[in-house]
């Protein structure tokens, strides 16, 4: 991508971080770590890749995304709000009684959410079903899925891995948010999932591994994945949990953390929040 597009996407990612932190910070607690680690991939997909229309959130020919690590919903909510799927004010209702933005993604409550998730391990299977239906209906759209590295310890993920290859769902592009951390510690210390690339390869997938915070690398990987049509694609994202949030970056404790007004202020300042407050779209 050219310098201008790169700059623009990086700036969008910065704004997404700001809005996500504001929404979690307003409540005072939330899944900061896993929300921050997928900011780049979601920003890239929604701003530069996916065929979507905020005015028609359920249009049949749209690209779909299943956020299987549903606890990172707030990042997706920020993007959907910024893109106009619903009013920005909704972001400040996160997790409050009666909200349309619950901690975990809910396809019935939130415009733009394609699948309900929150019980880890289930989203990839659903994404396969969506991809199969897409094929049956002879639509050309793509289906994206994002799973966590801790989530990858669920057996269902590997049942899904097998069936996606068997059914040759070439329109499915999945990402693993390999931030190396889960709730109880580092994944390598709790239940090592390493050799992820060879695992997915041996399950019959097309596999790439990239820096998950590098927009250019994400674009290149998605472009390449789209040329592979006889197999599902896995893009392993090397990421940093809590990335870009001063009080959370690279901390296991960032998984579901309280965030004080001072911490929020500090994080927003570091992200240059003032400057962006106006030109948020």
């Amino acid at each position: 991508m050219n310098q201008e597009k790169l700059q623009d996407l990086q700036d969008k990612a910065r704004i997404v971080r700001i809005e996500t932190l504001k929404s979690i910070g307003h409540l005072g607690v939330g899944h900061v770590g896993g929300a921050m680690s997928i900011v780049e991939v979601l920003t890239y997909l929604y701003y530069a890749e996916m065929h979507i229309d905020p005015k028609a959130p359920r249009m049949p020919e749209r690209d779909r995304l299943v956020l299987s690590k549903g606890h990172a919903g707030p990042t997706l909510y920020s993007i959907l709000a910024l893109k106009g799927f619903f009013p920005m004010e909704w972001l400040l209702t996160l997790n409050q009684g009666g909200t349309k933005l619950p901690s975990h993604c809910d396809r019935n409550l939130t415009p733009g959410i394609d699948m309900t998730t929150g019980s880890l391990g289930q989203g990839l299977s659903a994404a396969i079903g969506i991809a199969l239906a897409t094929r049956l209906d002879k639509r050309g759209n793509h289906v994206y899925a994002i799973i966590g590295d801790g989530e990858s310890q669920e057996g269902q993920v590997w049942e899904a891995a097998m069936s996606a290859a068997m059914f040759k769902v070439g329109n499915l592009i999945a990402f693993t948010d390999y931030n190396k951390m889960q709730i109880d510690g580092m994944t390598k210390d709790i239940m090592d999932i390493d050799a992820l690339e060879s695992k997915w390869l041996s399950f019959g997938w097309h596999v790439q591994r990239i820096n998950g915070h590098d927009m250019q690398a994400i674009e290149d990987a998605v472009t390449r994945a789209k040329t592979v049509t006889d197999r599902p694609s896995m893009i392993v994202l090397d990421t940093i949990k809590g990335k870009g949030c001063t009080c959370a970056e690279n901390l296991v404790g960032s998984h579901n953390m309280p965030i004080s007004a001072e911490q929020l202020e500090e994080a927003l300042t570091a992200l240059g929040a003032e400057a962006s407050a106006k030109g948020g779209n």
């Binding site: 549903g70 997790n95 009684g97 975990h104 929150g118 019980s119 966590g148 801790g150 989530e151 669920e154």
Partner: protein
């Protein structure tokens, strides 16, 4: 001293393990939530954190039990029940082994984790497992006593455990027996049968409200939901003629369901049921949710009056 219930759970397991090398603890990436890090520190070789893999956890626990160990395996109540049901049913229970499955964050206490994490059905599912013993402690004292009773009980159990926060209902030396409910307040007009950390205190408050209305309400802490204390329920059905069950769960399948089944078969009496009315969970504060699901002391008092009025 403000301990959380989870600290009592974890510390009791450590205490038990000091004198019983069969005690093991299993977690599925929620050790930090369940509070069992203290167990890992004291007995690292007897703690198995399988990662985010609940079904595997219960399978491994079953194997440990087959060799005579006493495994306590925990997750959020939703995942402990729904994601492991077949493993727990078959490998643990049908095989007649001794697995203590712990489901935390019952009902509305899942709060900000929302509908995906809000178990309103776990007791109902578990009640269908033959011979399974199901408990739900209401305070820290009963929590410790019942965890000790669970370790001593030969056979699998489902332990529905509140995680954060503390309250005191019982004297430190109170004795508990599995399957024997506790009469906390005696009464003659209506009996409030409650279970758990949220609902037993609400029922006690409801009895106070009713007292001001001139209604004498008995309150029972039904810490063991299965086997139900039939004798006690029937005695109070006869004594008060009206019962209101109070649970942080669907009104079907759980405590309310168990009491309804018993009354219908043995001694038909008026029954009202407080709890989720065939609804999914949702996100919000506990304050918001207890009102949304009409489970407050006021709701209980209202239900009690409505039930009595049918006499």
């Amino acid at each position: 001293m403000a301990k959380d219930m989870r600290d009592v759970y974890a510390q009791t397991l450590v205490d038990l393990a000091e004198n019983d090398d069969r005690i093991c603890v299993l977690e599925a990436d929620l050790m930090n939530a369940t509070g069992t890090k203290v167990f890992k520190q004291r007995f690292p070789e007897r703690m198995f954190d399988v990662g985010v893999a609940e079904a595997n956890m219960v399978g491994v626990a079953s194997g440990l039990s087959a060799e005579g160990k006493i495994p306590f395996a925990a997750s959020f109540g939703t995942f402990a029940s729904r994601r492991t049901f077949d493993q727990f049913f078959l490998s643990a229970n049908y095989a007649q082994l001794n697995v203590k499955l712990v489901g935390t964050d019952p009902g509305i206490t899942a709060q900000f984790n929302g509908g995906t994490h809000m178990p309103f059905e776990d007791i109902g599912m578990m009640r269908l497992v033959p011979n399974l013993v199901i408990i739900e402690p209401s305070d820290l004292v009963s929590c410790e006593a019942l965890i000790r009773a669970a370790a001593a009980h030969q056979g699998s159990m489902y332990i529905r455990m509140h995680r954060k926060g503390s309250n005191t209902i019982y004297d430190e030396n109170e004795q508990f027996e599995l399957g024997k409910g506790k009469v906390l307040v005696d009464g003659t007009d209506v009996t409030l049968i409650a279970a758990g950390f949220v609902m037993v205190p609400e029922a006690l408050k409801a009895a106070e409200i009713l007292k001001k209305e001139g209604i004498s309400a008995a309150v029972i802490d039904m810490h063991t939901i299965k086997p139900l204390d039939n004798e006690l329920v029937l005695a109070y059905a006869k004594k008060t003629g009206a019962i209101v069950t109070c649970e942080n769960h669907q009104v079907t399948g759980g405590l309310g369901g168990a009491v309804a089944e018993l009354l219908t078969a043995e001694y038909p009496a008026l029954l009202g049921r407080i709890g989720a009315q065939d609804m999914f969970g949702q996100v919000g504060t506990q304050d918001y949710l207890i009102k949304a699901y009409e489970m407050t002391a006021e709701d209980i008092a209202q239900k009690a009056m409505a039930t009595i009025s049918k006499k």
